[in-house]
């Protein structure tokens, strides 16, 4: 009835030739904790970090649960996803400066936010920059609630004995920022980011964990925002030429956000002892001893993709009969892309594969397993074993233990 070519798109995948273990937990967060417990147990057994990879279909939903679970287990994870620049302090710094320069009048919160994001003078060599949070918070609670122009704030902060002189210095700087032009935008922000690099970034490192989790993000952000400032100069010039923006700091901020949210940039991570957590589409070239695949639920993997074309039309092209044989189908029209990624994951694992899923949402709604489970003949880990795995002692489930080579360090 239907051509073999079309049927081939839904043909079952080749099952892997390595042991496959299934681990099902109650919720997604339980799953994340179990995954990281398993990673921890591998490390306990002497498996090197680079021999372990955690794979999910979409990091959007898994990054935070896995990150928190990893910390809980004393594991440093790195997520192979692009930096969310707008959620970093260097970006927030330039954004908050734009905010402070945008309004005719501004309130104390907007005024002081750049300082919260560690604004530092260009020519500062004093050790007391950036200003500590306590001083800023105290200023927030002592300054008046009314909004003022920047010049009025200059007056207020100058006249007040309660305001720290560094705050006064910042407000003066703000008052002297030139009108936004491509060159001034670039030079102002170059100076701001350079000063952040010099004073703000070391501050992050000073209070960071030994794994430098925050420092790495902050450093990546500095690097990215430096590039962004360059791009901003050109984009702002272009948009001004095209009359698409005004010479206003609010338009500069908007443009900066647009540029930043395009999210290009480096993804590499610098910690050799961190565990890689990747999206499935990044797995195809990898060869890792143990791959833990999380989120294999019916609603997440495979996932229906939005398509603008009608399903009947898509199906006709997929079948490729008659004239439609000349048209190329989009991979999103079937769940082929997800299946291929899953196949990549199966291939990436050299010694063992652990497929994990969760059974219900926090609301108690049932979550069904992914149909991709049908590909593999899995050996399930029992609930009691999962419980034992998730204790601080991280008792390795028997089926997992049997995956490990005999010469690795074991508890036995």
């Amino acid at each position: 009835m239907t051509s073999p070519n079309r049927l081939a798109l839904s043909a079952p995948l080749e099952p892997p030739e390595i042991p496959v273990i299934e681990m099902a937990t109650r919720t997604r967060r339980d799953e994340a904790r179990s995954v990281m417990a398993l990673v921890g147990s591998f490390l306990d057994q002497g498996v090197p970090e680079r021999d372990i990879a955690v794979v999910v279909r979409n990091l959007e939903t898994y990054e935070q649960p896995l990150f928190r679970a990893a910390l809980q287990h004393g594991i440093t994870p790195v997520f192979w996803t692009q930096l969310r620049v707008t959620e970093t302090r260097p970006f927030a710094l330039i954004d908050s400066i734009c905010d402070a320069l945008s309004g005719e009048t501004i309130d104390k919160r907007i005024l002081l936010t750049p300082l919260e994001h560690r604004w530092t003078p260009t020519d500062c060599s004093e050790p007391d920059w950036p200003i500590d949070s306590k001083t800023i918070q105290e200023a927030k609670s002592t300054l008046s609630e009314e909004s003022h122009t920047i010049n009025k704030w200059v007056k207020r902060t100058t006249e007040s004995d309660d305001v720290d002189v560094r705050i006064e210095r910042f407000v003066h700087w703000l008052a002297n920022v030139p009108e936004p032009r491509p060159d001034t935008v670039a030079s102002v922000f170059h100076d701001v980011v350079d000063a952040y690099r010099r004073a703000g970034l070391p501050e992050t490192k000073a209070t960071d964990s030994p794994a430098l989790l925050d420092t790495e993000i902050d450093a990546r952000a500095v690097y990215r925002v430096k590039t962004l400032v360059e791009q901003l100069r050109h984009k702002f010039a272009d948009r001004l030429d095209e009359d698409m923006v005004d010479k206003s700091w609010s338009d500069v901020a908007e443009l900066a956000t647009v540029v930043a949210t395009q999210r290009p940039g480096r993804r590499e991570h610098s910690h050799a002892r961190a565990i890689d957590v990747l999206e499935a589409n990044d797995v195809w070239v990898l060869d890792v001893s143990y791959v833990i695949v999380a989120g294999l639920t019916a609603s997440e993997w495979p996932q229906e993709t939005d398509s603008v074309t009608q399903p009947e039309f898509e199906e006709a092209i997929l079948r490729g009969q008659g004239k439609t044989s000349k048209l190329a189908p989009d991979t999103s029209w079937t769940n082929g892309r997800d299946r291929d990624h899953f196949a990549d994951v199966l291939n990436a694992a050299a010694n063992g594969l652990i497929l994990t899923r969760y059974r219900e949402t926090n609301r108690g709604d049932v979550v069904h397993p992914s149909p991709l489970f049908e590909v593999c003949d899995t050996d399930p880990i029992g609930d009691d074993e999962i419980q034992s795995l998730r204790t601080p002692e991280r008792e390795v489930p028997a089926s997992v233990r049997s995956m490990l080579p005999a010469n690795l360090e074991t508890d036995d």
Binding site: T27, R33, T76, Q137, L212, L213, R273, A274, R363, H368
Partner: protein, 1176 residues
């Protein structure tokens, strides 16, 4: 298995009886309406999920390449909706595998897989809401939304309503009306104020698609049902009394019993009430008009809608009256028709599960998608309709079943069936349920009191009988008031809950409530309302029964409250006021320091510094973490709330709770609550970001009243013995043991007579205002005279509103009537009928055991108002302490009375309060010390020498500074706009470019046009900001360098080589102690000589004299190249890495170190990192 037991798991299950007949009818017609009424546990969902795969298969066999596009399977319940696709896939496979239908043989297994793949993409399988959401998505932007709004975000919707009220309150045009309403309906503990009334009115209007004017008419019709007209005399009042009591004598009695002066006073007050009521309705509707406008605007501004809104917008869009209803003009009619046609042509089969729960507006919206050419299958059970309060209209399903009218179509083909076989409970429970509820549903004063016709079909159990009793009575004695705390859990421990708890506890010990392995059965205790849950919990705790209360609210969780209190503080942590609030009310473990904080003016630093020695370890830790949170406050402004809340949880160890601050059920529940909150906030935020101020505003309604928010998540059953749930929560579920708790509650205590705004179907009513002076003069049949809204705990609040007073209790009028105006009493009757359906739902959740607490004697009996008498009568329980056998039409039922062994000591199950890792504090300090994963040969030396100092530069990809970056005084460079690194970069780029371009030696020596051009291009690109004088200096320096360059061995080799490549990547790995480090370098020149030798050369530009460190750096770089080549090639000895330095110094560095120095360096790096860590 809910349908019929199969012999083995592998054998297919076939539909039987009514299920089979309705299936056959469905497939025998191309169009029509097919309804199936099912008793609880009869497997109505099973039928729905059988029709769909067969329909898909049939369509496919008939040539439909996309059959899943033409079938919709929808249900009311979200949980059941998630089962639809897996169930349909499984059934499809079963049909083909077992050849259950003739068409099964026409498809191959591959085709089944193809269909399953397609089913996973089916667009119309889910809840009614999800189907309608999909429709709305088609035109959301056309009606003023920027994008598809979020649907059902309770917090955001609460915010929208709050803003709506603020806006109408602040609007000068409605100022007077608002003042009037606030005076007439002041907000009270159990009484809605204007804001809640308006919110409910909007929902009602949208659910009924009413204009505000139509709504006003509705309210006035209710007012007119109470008052024939404005009262002019006491005679008229007396007539009304006679009418609403159902006995004219009462009017006469009123005239006789009320003195003339009181009559006058009453008439005057009643007139005032009438007028004031009229004004209140007008004011309410005037404000509502404005409120609806604001609601329309704010839902668009916030991008949020309720599920009712979605259905309303879909119905109105297709009806074409969005302009009058929602002020949306310029709807593109052609587009609207196209969308409608697309849905109608797509949807050929519509399968609706739980059809009794569909609301009026959902039905209206679905009606547009339905057409006479389709097949509609609807299954449900009117007797299980318990969602009137959520606007469910079971009458729609009843009319579909009875009259063949559904979805706006009078179906010419209409078939109906009733399935009475239940696969859930054992026969004795089925018989007991029949004995209890059959009289209830046949009674015009109980189950049959409402508008619905509750045609009860007795349950027929398909399961085998059990040998031991399945129906149990926990008998007890009490002289107190049923449903009261003293009745449930008196101090002497002999109350309803006490006896029940003992019964269950003993039953868990003696095996009555355990399985054959002696594992405890699941026990659910069902309540109609939450009122007595606490008393029950106390009684159960006394019996060491662990209770999980599924009705506990998430925002009532102490840990969640503390988390939000800290978040609130983070809005302004420098504010003494905020700190005071946190310390005193935040339950964060600092309340004992209140006086200290006060002394230190609420300064956490001062407390930490000045009182350190007196602080406990826990207090010290909490203060330190608060300081940390304050110092990192800026991150909460830039990160999602779900992320910074996790930071707070981590810092304060809220999941771990090392100081036992939070009295929650157990640590798993605490962790699950925090997980649930984070998930909830993540869902709310989507792509938005809520800073602490916005978040706290958003959750304010839930913090204020946790009852309005979500419930706590349920964790695995291993940590409790019984679960408390409301019957509404248990709908659709079942359990091994079901207990009917608190059956003595009085149904009359809450109802229309206690509500200020009532709605039921087409009737709406706003109660008379509460601020009219009414004399406290009794009139016959009404203890509260004309109107006394404060008497909310009595059966009536006066003549002028609804009552819960039975007519025969005050007169000889009909025993099945309530006193009061017919229109309002219809609402009371409908609500009362639902109370009895609720009992039916509760009883039918049981699988193996049904337990009910009953008093040995009961007086007086209020059988119409309480469940307890119906249970007692149904069980024919005479108070005997002995178990007995109940004779029924369908056979005997063994009833166990207190039938567990009181002497059995119940050893608690192994509870293992799992202290999973989530309950351990996080210590970031113990994370593995940072080790660079990627190294560059050129920076290996400084990085391995001092990893801590050079980490930042390394992370930033900057050149790691060494002394070689200084500039000698002899160098003719003037550097203002660029630095030494830039010089190196430019020189390096020019030299490699010249080689790459194959520029001749003569040309280079002459510094001719080409060299000039290369120099200018590179300087321009690299140093656009440089000045002319700087460029001139740079040129001068370059000419010196390039002269040395052409004199070098490197240049000589380039002239004689087979090939030269520039900027060649050289990569490799070093593994040490299980740590893998990647080395990525780029060699400036790779020169292949005719001899087979290969020269790998990097060039350096020296601006100052080299130091020993520089020398070592270069030597290590060269050795690293050698190491990398040795990894790649067996002929590594023929590879000659070198470094050529030009500039102030001219030097060639060749390999002098052993390759293993590289591994040693890595070892050194790891050791240094470890020692840095140890030193911290």
């Amino acid at each position: 298995m809910t349908e019929t037991e199969s012999a083995t798991d592998d054998e297919p299950v076939e539909l039987k009886g009514a299920q089979k007949r309705i299936r056959d009818g469905f497939f025998a017609h191309d169009s029509g309406l097919f309804t199936l009424s099912c008793v609880p546990g009869a497997g109505k969902s099973t039928v729905a999920q059988r029709l769909a795969p067969e329909e898909i298969l049939r369509r496919y066999v008939n040539g439909d390449a996309t059959p899943e596009q033409h079938v919709a399977v929808i249900t009311f319940n979200r949980d059941e909706a998630t089962d639809i696709i897996p169930e349909i896939c499984e059934q499809l496979r079963a049909i083909v595998k077992h050849d259950l239908r003739p068409i099964a043989s026409e498809v191959s297994e591959e085709e089944v897989e193809l269909l399953i793949q397609r089913i996973h993409q089916a667009p119309y399988f889910g809840t009614v809401d999800s189907l309608l959401r999909g429709v709305l998505q088609e035109f959301a932007t056309e009606i003023g939304f920027n994008e598809m709004p979020s649907v059902g975000n309770g917090a955001l919707l609460a915010h929208v309503h709050e803003d709506c009220y603020d806006r109408v309150r602040g609007n000068s045009t409605t100022k007077t009306e608002i003042e009037l309403l606030e005076a007439a309906y002041p907000e009270e503990d159990y009484a809605a104020g204007p804001s809640e009334l308006l919110e409910n009115a909007v929902t009602y209007c949208r659910n009924r698609r009413l204009t505000t004017e139509a709504f006003r008419r509705n309210l006035k019709a209710t007012r007119d049902a109470v008052y024939d007209d404005k009262p002019k005399s006491f005679e008229e009042i007396a007539d009304t009394i006679g009418r609403v009591v159902g006995n004219a004598d009462f009017g006469n009695r009123a005239k006789e019993s009320v003195t003339e002066s009181d009559q006058k006073e009453l008439v005057a007050a009643d007139k005032a009430l009438y007028e004031s009521w009229d004004s209140s309705i007008d004011a309410f509707c005037d404000v509502l008009t404005r409120y609806r406008e604001e609601y329309r605007a704010l839902t668009r501004e916030y991008g949020v809608l309720s599920h009712t809104d979605v259905a309303y917008l879909v119905a109105s869009y297709f009806e074409g009256d969005l302009d009058s209803f929602d002020c949306v003009e310029n709807i593109n009619r052609e587009r609207q028709q196209r969308i409608l046609q697309r849905y109608q042509s797509r949807l050929q089969s519509l399968i609706i599960d739980e059809a009794q729960d569909i609301s009026n507006i959902q039905h209206a919206a679905l009606s547009y998608l339905a057409h006479p050419g389709m097949r509609v299958f609807a299954c449900g059970d009117v007797l299980q309709s318990i969602y009137l309060w959520r606007h469910a209209e079971p009458g729609l399903f009843q009319s579909a079943t009875d009259d063949g009218e559904y979805l706006g179509i009078n179906w010419s083909t209409h078939s109906k069936e009733t399935a009475t076989t239940t696969y859930r409970c054992v026969p004795d429970i089925a018989k007991a349920v029949n004995e209890i509820v059959a009289p209830v549903f046949n009674d015009d004063a109980r189950g049959n009191i409402g508008d619905l016709d509750p045609e009860f079909s007795p349950l027929e159990a398909a399961r085998n009988s059990s040998e031991e009793p399945s129906v149990h009575i926990s008998a007890f004695s009490s002289l107190k008031n049923p449903g009261s705390p003293e009745w449930s859990n008196p101090e002497d421990g002999t109350g309803e809950a006490d006896k029940l708890a003992k019964h269950l506890s003993n039953g868990l010990a003696d095996g009555t409530f355990t399985d054959p392995n002696n594992d405890p059965l699941g026990i659910t205790v069902l309540f109609r309302k939450r009122a007595r849950m606490e008393d029950y919990e106390a009684a159960f705790e006394d019996e060491r029964i662990r209770v999980r209360n599924a009705s506990d609210n998430l925002f009532g969780s102490p840990t969640v409250q503390t988390l939000l209190a800290v978040c609130d503080w983070l809005i302004e942590p420098g504010s003494p006021k905020k700190t005071r609030q946190l310390v005193k009310e935040g339950d964060i473990g600092l309340s004992a320091l209140t006086e200290v904080f006060k002394t230190e003016q609420w300064d956490i630093d001062a407390v930490a510094e000045n009182h350190g020695p007196t602080l406990s370890e826990s207090q010290h830790r909490i203060l330190t973490e608060l300081q940390w949170l304050r110092d990192h406050r800026s991150t909460v402004e830039i990160r999602p709330a779900s992320v910074y809340l996790e930071d707070i949880i981590e810092r304060l160890a809220l999941r771990a709770d090392p100081d036992d601050l939070f009295q929650e059920l157990n640590n798993r529940q605490r962790a699950a609550n925090l997980d649930a909150l984070i998930d909830l906030i993540t869902e709310w935020e989507a792509d938005d970001r809520y800073n602490p101020r916005e978040l706290i505003e958003l959750v304010a309604p839930f913090r204020e009243d946790p009852n309005t928010g979500p419930s706590q998540p349920s964790i695995s059953s291993e940590n409790y013995d019984v679960e408390f749930r409301t019957v509404h929560q248990a709908k659709g579920d079942e359990d091994d043991v079901v207990v009917i708790a608190d059956p003595g509650f009085s149904a009359w205590t809450r109802g229309p007579h206690t509500n200020r705004f009532v709605t039921q179907g087409s009737i709406a009513g706003l109660a008379p205002p509460t601020n009219v002076e009414i004399p406290e003069i009794e009139i016959p049949a009404f203890d509260n005279g004309i109107y006394n809204p404060d008497a909310e705990w009595e059966r009536d609040i006066g003549l002028r509103w609804a009552t819960a007073q039975w007519a025969d209790s005050v007169s000889n009028a009909g025993s099945n009537e309530f006193v009061g105006p017919v229109r309002l009493q219809r609402i009371a009757r409908s609500e009362r009928a639902e109370v009895w359906r609720l009992l039916y739902v509760a009883l039918t959740r049981a699988r193996n055991h049904l337990v009910m607490p009953l008093p040995v004697s009961l007086s007086p009996r209020c059988y119409r108002d309480r469940w307890i008498e119906s249970l007692q009568d149904g069980m024919s329980f005479d108070g005997s302490a002995e178990s007995y056998s109940l004779k029924t039409d369908r056979g005997r039922v063994d009833i166990g009375v207190n039938d567990t062994n009181p002497l059995m000591d119940r050893s608690r199950r192994n509870t293992r309060q799992s202290t999973g890792i989530a309950s351990e504090p996080v210590h970031r300090g113990s994370l593995a010390q940072w080790v660079p994963r990627f190294l560059n040969p050129s920076s290996m030396y400084p990085l391995t020498e001092d990893p801590d100092d050079n980490a930042l530069a390394h992370l930033l990809g900057e050149s790691i500074h060494t002394d070689s970056n200084d500039i000698s005084d002899n160098v003719p460079l003037q550097l203002d706009t660029f630095g030494p690194n830039d010089v190196g970069e430019v020189i390096h780029a020019i030299l490699t470019k010249l080689v790459e371009k194959g520029v001749s030696e003569a040309e280079i020596r002459s510094k001719g046009t080409i060299v000039n051009q290369v120099f200018d291009d590179i300087v321009q690109n690299t140093l656009p900001q440089s000045r002319d004088d700087e460029r001139n200096c740079l040129w001068e320096f370059f000419t010196d360098v390039v002269d040395d360059f052409v004199e070098s061995d490197l240049w000589t080799r380039i002239q004689r080589c087979n090939s030269v490549q520039v900027e060649q990547p050289i990569d490799g790995l070093v593994q040490r102690d299980g740590v893998e480090i990647e080395i990525h370098g780029t060699a400036d020149f790779v020169v292949d000589m005719p001899s087979g030798d290969q020269y790998v050369t990097d060039i350096k530009t020296a601006l100052t004299e080299q130091t020993p460190q520089t020398q070592k750096r270069y030597e290590l770089q060269v050795s690293t190249y050698a190491y990398l080549f040795s990894q790649k090639s067996t002929d590594a000895e023929r590879v000659h890495p070198t470094i050529e330095t030009f500039g102030v110094e001219r030097e060639t560095v060749t390999k002098s170190w052993q390759k293993r120095v590289v591994e040693r360096r890595i070892r050194l790096l790891l050791d240094k990192i470890q020692s840095d860590l140890d030193a911290r």
